[in-house]
């Protein structure tokens, strides 16, 4: 099997109604329609989901590892920002 020349697509699958689509991996495909079909075959064969999103991998902008300190560490010493002082109502799933 030779290397693919097709673009890479990131795949997001929604597991149940009302919850966010979650990143599950990626597939190669020539276009969006085929990317959805390939994602269906690779990631949802065992009833993993009810909806699929595909996004061209090149369209994703990401923070860089060097930004980690400036971006994320300042919140480490601000525990009052964390939602740990609330009680989660019973019956709320997927939080």
């Amino acid at each position: 099997m030779s290397d693919s020349q097709w673009p890479l697509w990131e795949v997001f699958v929604q597991g149940n109604p009302g919850i966010p689509h979650k990143h599950v991996g990626s597939v190669h495909a020539p276009d969006a329609e085929m990317a959805i079909q390939n994602a269906r075959d690779v990631y949802t064969r065992r009833s993993e989901g009810i909806s699929i999103w595909v996004v061209p991998a090149v369209e994703i902008s990401a923070s860089s590892p060097e930004d980690q300190g400036a971006f994320f560490e300042p919140s480490n010493d601000k525990p009052y920002r964390h939602p740990t002082f609330y009680k989660i109502p019973e019956g709320v799933k997927y939080l």
């Binding site: 693919s4 190669h28 329609e33 079909q37 269906r40 075959d41």
Partner: protein, 252 residues
């Protein structure tokens, strides 16, 4: 011919076609043009083998001679096989596989649509389950027809050649005989004239959209109903049946 014999024969036709085309697709395992397509084809192959298991299992039950679906699959010779000639044609290049699959998926899409309302409950139940799978198969192969047909000059040419070579096997899909007549009267089998009209319309639409030509031929290959197959089936069965015939009754 009584109703039971007709039903057994009819189930063999449906089941054998699924088994043989499923086996053909499984030959792509590890050889697909790209990983994602390899997985897609093998998924489809598994759907067909699963469908064949249900149909041949029911055939064995209808026959009532104590045979199982495995006996029917692995211990019949090619003259006893009833699969359509189209289904046993070799994989060829990827265009040939897609063309064969598209012609057959369109056929099963409309055939199983009819069988969903069969008065035989088991056949209707198998058809309901299979039709969901077939809807996906057809979507997949239709997308490839459009992309290869309307792709590069080479992909267009290869797909047109494949269609031209397979066309002589398509008229057999709609042949009806005593078996069909008997079962249609009972509301069990599908009327293939109806399937043919829908098939022709859809196939012509897709071929045209793919910028290809609908082939024209006077050659009509047939014979699967009498167990007369092309030279390819014997080799396929030899490979598929080797283990159960060499080691009868072995389990793992």
């Amino acid at each position: 011919m009584n109703l039971q014999q007709a039903k057994f024969e009819y189930l063999l036709r449906l089941g054998d076609s699924s088994l043989i085309i499923g086996h053909r697709l499984s030959e792509w395992c590890g050889h697909g043009p790209i990983l994602e397509e390899d997985i897609a084809l093998i998924n489809i192959a598994l759907d067909f083998v699963g469908n064949a298991t249900s149909l041949l299992g029911y055939a064995a039950q209808v026959e009532g001679k104590g045979r199982t679906e495995d006996d029917l699959a692995y211990l019949r010779g090619e003259r006893e096989y009833r699969n359509l000639l189209l289904t046993e044609q070799p994989n060829g290049d990827y265009a040939a596989t897609i063309a064969r699959q598209f012609l057959y998926d369109t056929y099963t899409f409309f055939l199983y649509e009819e069988l969903k309302s069969s008065k035989d409950e088991t056949i209707a139940a198998i058809a309901v389950k299979s039709h969901k799978e077939i809807t996906y198969h057809l979507r997949h192969t239709t997308q490839w027809m459009l992309r290869l047909g309307d792709g590069t000059e080479e992909s267009h040419q290869r797909l047109q050649t494949a269609l031209n070579e397979l066309w002589m096997f398509t008229s057999e899909l709609f042949d009806m005989d005593e078996v069909d007549g008997l079962l249609i009267n009972e509301g069990i089998a599908a009327d293939l004239d109806k399937v043919k009209a829908a098939w022709e319309k859809r196939v012509n639409e897709v071929i045209t959209e793919a910028t290809l030509q609908v082939p024209v031929t006077n050659i009509k290959q047939k014979g699967s109903r009498e167990g007369k197959h092309s030279e390819h089936l014997g080799f396929l069965l030899a490979e598929m049946q080797y283990i159960p015939r060499s080691y009868p009754g072995s389990k793992w």
